[in-house]
């Protein structure tokens, strides 16, 4: 295995461990964060805050570097416009997230629990991703 997939494997493992450690693999905990009018569980807010605090300096470093350590260039987004697809897609995602408490990372991680619902959600999510491919590409 060359360096790039190996680093990706390590990063994936850290990410998956982070989801499991933080409790974000549990959709009930996510829904309880989103339920401001119920028995609110603020944990997700701290997960986001810690992830932002640790990763933000990396963007500062990246901005001063011409290329990453193991690749020819940074493959990072360059667009700055707010188009209907971005905002509409975010709204559709927010609806699904609010109904289930699952977003793509936890949807994968929760497979390790072996719950049938986890497989149903993942299959449906993959179906939704492939269905988007059937739409005409953005102009």
């Amino acid at each position: 295995m060359t360096a790039r997939p190996l680093l990706a494997l390590v990063c994936g493992a850290l990410f998956g461990a982070g989801l499991a450690v933080s409790g974000m693999m549990n959709p009930a905990k996510v829904l309880n964060f989103l339920d401001l009018a119920g028995a609110w569980d603020p944990s997700l807010g701290l997960v986001m805050a810690a992830a932002l605090a640790v990763s933000a300096p990396a963007w500062q470093i990246a901005a001063r570097r011409r290329r990453p350590l193991l690749a020819a260039r940074f493959e990072t987004p360059t667009r700055t416009d707010l188009d209907p697809r971005l905002l509409g897609g975010a709204a559709v995602f927010g609806l699904g997230w609010g109904l289930s408490g699952l977003c793509p990372g936890p949807a994968l991680a929760v497979l390790v629990t072996g719950l049938p619902g986890a497989l149903v959600f993942l299959a449906a999510m993959v179906g939704g991703m492939l269905a988007y491919r059937l739409l005409p590409p953005p102009p």
Binding site: L7, L9, C11, L14, F15, G16, G18, L19, A20, V21, G23, M25, A28, K29, N32, L36, D41, S43, L46, V47, M48, A49, A51, L52, A53, V54, S55, A56, A58, W59, P68, L69, A71, F74, E75, T76, P77, R85, G89, A90, V92, G94, L95, G96, W97, G98, L99, S100, L102, C103, P104, L108, V112, A123, A124, G127, G128, M129, L130, A131
Partner: protein
């Protein structure tokens, strides 16, 4: 399922997620957005020496190791009924591809980068998710 506020594990887990995002950026020059990584793996599985598949395998491995070392981490509740769960899955898959990102790509990486698009997308999906939970748990349709 009732859950309690777990500040220490939330901060520790969040720091691991942030570390993963930082290393993937500085090492491979890539954004740790799970919907983008999974979407790319579905469409172009062999591109870039399979780093996407390696990342996804690692994600499962990391979650598995934690649940084996600490079994309570595997105590999760999928409270949404199966048909609704399937519908939600389609919405999450479709919406994250349409909007070019999810909680990790926009919410963590994009916001950390100060991206205008990611900040807007994050505000939208959080607002819609909050409203959705309010309606399903406290609205007219709630039991």
């Amino acid at each position: 399922m009732e859950t309690s506020f777990t500040p220490v594990s939330a901060l520790a887990g969040g720091a691991l997620i942030g570390l993963a995002a930082a290393l993937l950026l500085l090492g491979n020059g890539r954004v740790a957005g799970i919907s983008g990584i999974l979407g790319g793996a579905l469409i172009r599985p062999r591109e870039d020496g399979g780093w996407r598949l390696a990342f996804l395998a690692g994600l499962l491995l990391g979650a598995l190791v934690v649940t084996l070392a600490y079994p309570p981490a595997a105590r999760v509740a999928l409270e949404t009924p199966l048909p609704l769960l399937a519908a939600a899955g389609v919405l999450v898959g479709f919406g994250t591809r349409m909007g070019n990102g999810c909680t990790s790509g926009h919410g963590v990486c994009g916001v950390a980068r100060g991206s205008r698009r990611s900040i807007a997308a994050t505000l939208v999906f959080f607002t819609v998710a909050l409203a959705t939970v309010f309606v399903t748990r406290h609205g007219l349709l709630a039991g």
